[in-house]
Amino acid sequence: MLLIRMAWLNLWRNRRRTLIAGGSVFFAVILAIVMRSATLGIYDNLIHNFVTYSSGYIEVHQKGFHEDASVDLSMEVHSELLLQLRKQPGVTAVQPRIQSFVLASGSGQAKGALFMGVIPSLEKKYTHLDRKLCAGTYPESDSERVALLGVDLASRLKLKVGDTLVVIGQGYRASTAAGKYRVCGLLQLGSPELNQRIVYLPLCHAQALLSTPDMVTSLAVQISGPAQLEPVARRLRTLLDTAQLELMTWKELYPELDQFITADSGGHIIMSGVLYLIISFGLLGTLLMMARERTHEFGIIIALGLRKENIAIMLLCESLFISLMGGAAGITSGWLLVRWFHANPIPITGKLKGMYLSYGIEPVIAVSNRPDVFYVQAIVVLLISLMLVIVPIVRVLQLEPVKALNS
């Protein structure tokens, strides 16, 4: 107790120096948090824009469908199973969809398209597909015979709202699938890939087209947040008949996306590392100075009978106090900042907006508020303060009392 008290009091002998040292930790932590949250936010956004309108964060399908996306691998889904899946914590929506590849054409040439039968009312409710509309109107009922097109696909097919889309493909068990639909709206999605390829049809018309009444190819599971991915996947697996059905997370569905994020993350982590390295040098200087200028005092208290280990404990406490105060303040402020930015994403305007859009990224800086961002910083700061203090501690342990007294 005496040692801890002395350590605390020692910090305030040179108040300014302690505040500068604590302040450097504070700013490093805030910066690291904001940087990390912002990049995670970008990734989350990227993933969200892609998976929400294609597979869902988690996709449930027949075994083999991922390798061979054939309508023949359609399945009937019991409403009890749907209900049960929807009840699981972390699950926000389970949407029955039917997917296939088709040839789409307007008046001119045909293009390959990703064809997706969805229930418009469910999409409106859970994925806000209606908000992605850039022209035309959203289907008013789930049975309207209309199609929604990715905006880039529409322009390549030279189709406008009100025109007729012709779809040709292969239906269930090699049946021919062909149909005509009125284009009711164009979609500007957050993914350029989807904008160039997607065709949405109400599920019932899609099923009729593909001769798969009452069947779907997949269940798209949406979750309440990126952190829920693994827990939800684990829970759902236990509910499924895994002999027939297969559950895949977006990471398994699109490994390249996951790899890209991991690689890109590496760069950001190195940047944070450099940031922490820089403040470590400053902190080490402070800790060394704090110990060195007290050499005589250490000599006195060693002479009086305080073991060197106890002085080491005192130095350790001092280092921890500085880092933890700076770190705690940094984490709290970082958390508040991130919370605010999370609730109020910054819209990007001007030239940058166009650039974001052309990359298919929503033009907002949306930060992630994942908790691991915060406790990782706490651990880093703790480790730094523990490691740095080793240097002055080793010096104290080597101190000879007479030399210390004479200094």
């Binding site: 005496l2 002395m6 009091l9 020692n10 002998r13 005589h296 005092e297 006195i300 208290i301 060693i302 002479a303 009086l304 009978g305 305080l306 073991r307 060197k308 000879e400 009392p401 007479v402 007294l405």
Partner: protein, 238 residues
Amino acid sequence: METTEAGTQAATVIDAHELSKIYNGRQVPVKAIDGVHLHIEEGEFTAIVGPSGSGKSTLLHLIGGLDVPSSGNVVLAGTEITKLSENKLIDFRLHHIGFVFQAYNLVPVLTARENIGFVMQLQGIAKDVREKRVQELLAQVGLTDKADCKPAKLSGGQQQRVAVARALASRPRIVLADEPTANLDSVNAGNLLDLMARLNREEHITFLFSTHDPRVIEKARRVITLVDGRVVSDQHHA
């Protein structure tokens, strides 16, 4: 053998044999202490005097177990401290030796009261016992009103009085003081010596201190003179 005021046979507190300390100087080895024998009994009030560089500090450091002799040994209150491991030695100092140094003796962040209680606190003495003793010592050194001042707010003389009080607090077998008055003016130096002499009498604690201040020497009851690391005279005064 000397007798104490109580008239009983005095016990030996310090017994140093054939003590030498050689420093490996830049060019030639320096014999800071050269074959010193020293025998001090309980309750003595002894000054070590000698010119600068004669080895006074070195001798006190060796006796206090702060430094290791090149040869010879030191027995303190029956324990051969020259044979103790580093941590055992620190614990021995904590329980048996009080120190007063020339200046900057006190822990700057602690108050006078806390400085006096410091050694007792390290010893793990209960708070109420400790506080009672600190209060008593504060009164003895005349600093009751400065009890809650930090050292920076005390004069040099007051700081040394706190240091003396701290050295005595846990009633060690011996108090070693290396030039405790060197940074004080003559009035304060005299006062500090009077204080030490009184505590020596009242608390019956053995004092061994170094000085080259003639007025301080007068107050000692035994004066050991060192020259070039050797004892050249050892006189008892009345």
